[in-house]
């Protein structure tokens, strides 16, 4: 998957937001493991499993595409966790074809190597962008894609945004009820309207905390709409993300 496609079926019109989110289930797992700040071999898989599942919930709630690979890894994690809770069988019954914790972590280590290399590649490509050669048949010149502002210089990843919104969503959900279907906002919160409203507010220069803005929402549906509207405005370059001195993430528009 290259980019998550957010599709919000608004009652009047269909609205699509595309943004790069994650590149796969291992990317997500790695992110969660790295948050633990311990060596990969010491990570609490039980804790990570819970978080992984919670992330999938949030992604589904935001109508981010959750491909089957994400679900497969979720199943694997749950299975590993379950096995770890069971009393160890006396005999070595590990000839199962199921993925073990060790093999999963090994895969993660291997994946991390290439993810790091990919990041190096991205930096190299950026350096290359400072260098110009004579124009012959510069095919690429014509094929410029506008890039979402989230990938810009300030280094706030979509993950951070997703985590903020996830935490807030959690507060609107007193108990994790067993909901087989992710709830789609059906409370008539129009995304285009939300975008318009925010656009008005940011017109002529405005600055506010990303989290604060989300906190203004009075319902889950509104919270999600606000989040998506923010992403869209960021993508359009109408507002940009900055990290304040206190390391909170803020939205800023030019005057």
């Amino acid at each position: 998957m290259q980019s998550g496609i957010l599709q919000v079926d608004d009652d009047q019109n269909r609205f699509t937001i595309e943004l790069p989110v994650f590149s796969g289930p291992l990317d997500l797992l790695l992110h969660l493991v790295q948050k633990e700040q311990v060596s990969i071999w010491d990570v609490s898989l039980a804790k990570v499993t819970e978080e992984y599942l919670r992330f999938l919930d949030t992604m589904q709630e935001l109508n981010l595409e959750v491909t089957c690979e994400f679900l497969v890894l979720a199943a694997t994690l749950v299975q590993i966790k379950a096995r770890s809770l069971l009393p160890k069988p006396p005999a070595v019954a590990d000839e199962t074809e199921d993925e073990t914790e060790e093999s999963l972590l090994l895969r993660l280590v291997e994946y991390k190597k290439f993810k790091t290399a990919a990041e190096q590649f991205a930096r190299r490509a950026e350096q290359e962008n400072e260098v110009f050669t004579k124009v012959y048949l510069d095919v690429n010149l014509l094929a410029q894609e506008d890039q979402p502002a989230t990938t810009g210089e300030i280094n706030v990843s979509i993950w951070e945004l997703l985590e903020i919104v996830q935490k807030l969503l959690a507060t609107y959900r007193p108990e994790p009820e067993a909901k087989p279907e992710p709830q789609i906002p059906r409370e008539f919160v129009s995304l285009p309207e939300t975008i318009f409203r925010l656009q008005q507010r940011f017109q002529g220069g405005y600055r506010c905390g990303f989290r604060d803005l989300l906190l203004e929402a009075r319902s889950r549906a509104e919270l999600i709409a606000t989040f998506l509207a923010c992403l869209e405005l960021i993508k359009l370059g109408f507002v940009s993300l900055v990290r304040s001195e206190t390391s909170t993430i803020e939205l800023v528009s030019e005057g």
Partner: protein, 176 residues
Amino acid sequence: MNIAEAKAILEALIFAAPEPITLRECARILGVSERTAALLIRQLDDDYAARKSALTIRQVAKGYQICTRPQYAEYIRAIGRTSRSQQLSPAALECLAIIAYKQPITRVEIDEIRGVRSDSAIQSLLERELIAEVGRKEAIGRPILFGTTDRFLEAFGLKDLNDLPPLAESPETLIE
């Protein structure tokens, strides 16, 4: 032919070649050894630096090319030139990294490392000619093997594949 003339010819060749020109090509046209050609090109670039030219000769994708120095990028953007390399998605970059270090490699092997299907990422790399089919694996279904192209080297400013930064090996690198 004196040295100044030889350098001028090399300058003309490197300037006019539509792709990075190889040392072999330069040596052939000039009728000198590759070692001599390399030395002359080095001198030519030193001359550029000595007179504080905005241009420099660099070795990339198995050849030489003239390009501007990074500090002039802002002026060049002011005339509407945009950067050469297009933004690649994180997924495409991951595939590219895997292919670069593990080539030749099949799609299934890439998928295994990434834990996710890589079809569209690979397709976009093929379209940009950063990778190419380099053969078939002797296995069931004879799957396509992918490898990187010279265009890849050029896009990332690499002389050749040996110029790739070493892959981090330690598992502890997992923790930032």
